[in-house]
Symmetry: C2
Subunit: 471 residues, 2 copies
Amino acid sequence: MNDSYLNFVNSPLGARLARSLGLPKPEVLRRYRADAPEFDGIVAVGAGPSPQLLDAFADVVAHTGMTSVAHSGAGLWVPLANRHGLMTGRFEPAERTGGSQARVRALVFDASGIDASAQLDSLYRFFHDALRSLDACGRIVVLGRPPESRATPLAWTAQRALEGVTRSLGKEARRGIAANLIYVAQGAEAGIEATLRFFLSPRSAYVSGQVVRIGTAPFTPAPDFDWTRPLAGQRAVVTGAARGIGAAIANVLAAHGAHVIGIDIPSAGDALDTTMRQIGGTALAFDIGAPDTPAQIAAALDELGVDVFVHNAGITKDKTIAKMSEAAWRDVIDINLSAQERIDDALLEAGTLRNGGRIVSVSSISGIAGNVGQTHYAASKAGVIGRVQSMAPFLAQRHITINAVAPGFIETQMTAKMPLALREAGRRMNSMSQGGQPADVAQTVAWLAHPGSAGVTGQLVRVCGQSLIGA
Amino acid sequence: MNDSYLNFVNSPLGARLARSLGLPKPEVLRRYRADAPEFDGIVAVGAGPSPQLLDAFADVVAHTGMTSVAHSGAGLWVPLANRHGLMTGRFEPAERTGGSQARVRALVFDASGIDASAQLDSLYRFFHDALRSLDACGRIVVLGRPPESRATPLAWTAQRALEGVTRSLGKEARRGIAANLIYVAQGAEAGIEATLRFFLSPRSAYVSGQVVRIGTAPFTPAPDFDWTRPLAGQRAVVTGAARGIGAAIANVLAAHGAHVIGIDIPSAGDALDTTMRQIGGTALAFDIGAPDTPAQIAAALDELGVDVFVHNAGITKDKTIAKMSEAAWRDVIDINLSAQERIDDALLEAGTLRNGGRIVSVSSISGIAGNVGQTHYAASKAGVIGRVQSMAPFLAQRHITINAVAPGFIETQMTAKMPLALREAGRRMNSMSQGGQPADVAQTVAWLAHPGSAGVTGQLVRVCGQSLIGA
């Protein structure tokens, strides 16, 4: 739970030692705090030819109260920003101003109009000029169009190339900077705000190297909501809520205004009660794996319904397959995957999960890349990815979204028990050079649960600090 | 080029030392040799409920002359094998036979009928019993159905879960064993042989943790061909053929019977001439990036046409984006990506690339995961992925396939110049604990260029020994 190396190299003595020894110095990540402004600072705006998303982005800047500066490649921004009543200026690279250029909190590049590989050089010019002006823990967001939606192979290819740029920027930038790519479908422009806010906010501290699509499913327009309490009046269920990541998810959803119903196994009843008492939630003691649990959950929730369901409960029983018992295999698959299927089906059949609702499942890097001793666990977590992909079109009819998050190395009681060398490798093998916090996963879940995230469905988002480990 | 650690720990003294010190002992991979049988040894066959691919697989076993044994879960195999005139027996786990069970060269599991997560336990039973009987440098192949083709979310999810199992098996098995997952579309059963042969052969020594789809595009039925010289009578172009991976590709395609036309820059003319002379090929000195090169290539090839085109030429100019020149960005994007687009377009327009032909492009792990100092290179290589995805449906009309390979750490002159620590990390951070050889990439290209690979298109296959490094 406690990364003593991170703490040490960020102490005055430790920083001096690390510097003289050439040791890596992971940044203390800037995370969301209720008592600090979420969106302060300057965003530098860049653009390729014929940018199509600047108008929608100007709305986000206006609503969040950020200040903006335009790179010379984004000439359209200044008049557009003026039209939105924004204060804006011109971005000057530090070398041209003798270092007097104000540092910026975020770099946002609109690549939506790029339709040939040669035009990618517009990204070069912006990031070449601007990357060094970006604050520690800053944000890089590249906006594009879904490659497969482009009319020509040349445009598809150029949009697909953005992944390579963005992921490389994340690895180069270091200093706690996160870089992500958002593909916005034609017609989905009005639906970008919740996602843009998340990726510009300290809430996304440990989400980097990700590719997110915002689509135009025929969703109910998001109702009016308060950006500070977007889940006010909603009911959210979190399984495995007693401790760790589940408790963090419960906390963040409650802070977003939801009434949280926490579920955990009866033996964790005390911890669950404590967690729920702290957030004014409701504790339900159920064994997720029991055959009658889905019906019981549906019955318990039936009268008031549910808006958000977070499948977080999961177990590990690591063992190589040659040494594993069949019971261990069955338990892991059943709790981590089959039980989710049974519960969803029961809630959907009973209509307990409301139209326009949200399902978020917790997958894992193991489900993407596999892992030693986790044939069953990786199967269950890869299955979770299949689950959200397969259910998304089906649930779209009810305007329900379903997505998964895949935590990388997150500091929990579980990782605290790992052998030191393994734990240190997990902590350092990512662009943040540190493990994430349960709250990082929880904030990501809250973004997906947000009423403004209606266009995001069937997706997998890693919360891994851009972990090296992948497929 | 020379992995001295690998050599040392496989010497008598080194092996003893490594054992007593607990050092990793990477296996000397069994690779294809013209003077050794390609398919000897026993394949153990397992299956889930209602397996649908055993019949097609029995053909492959019959044609290759392998011997088979059936796991108790694959009861259908024995009568089916008899029908195909195969020698077959029953697989008994080593513990039940007191260790007398013959060791096997491959484990093949037909998971095509699995349509619910609970049925995944059939994989447990097979691999629990059989994994320890698998030879060093053995093969694991799991056969499934494309998840998105399944009728229900439950079946889609269960098929998707196979990825987690297969990738974990690859990481657990070690000892030079490769594990891959092949999704066979309904109706594509007759098209599996070339792919199955590749994944069972020593040719796929460094390909592990991959997911390949065999589809049913309306392709010309593969003409009669000789499995030992499948490209006989064909003409294959390889760019960047003078040295390294390109020369290896030229060699393997020539060994497959193709007349190879090698292209490289004029300054590499001597090396190109030497490489081409050794394989009876034709050398063409062209600068890939020059504007008139596409037309010149088309003109040079026009009379006889081309069956296979391999885009291998590429350059690196590593530099962080803040320090990179705009010329470096442009050169890397142009040579590695835009030039391919121009050449393809010229050849397709002129009809130089024959209907039923093959395009194979060399991408990179950097194109998947990004890399420090490679914003431009990663963009170009991510673009290559977009290129094959975007062109595949378009080229299907001409029965042309297009695919990409992504080499991981391959031992070349380039990697020989890397700093030691970086080189050692690259070598060890994969399931084979070693770098690959240029021939490993070349064999993979040859599989994709094979007349029997008509159902494989729009795909990316990593040649990385199941590198940890991913997206």
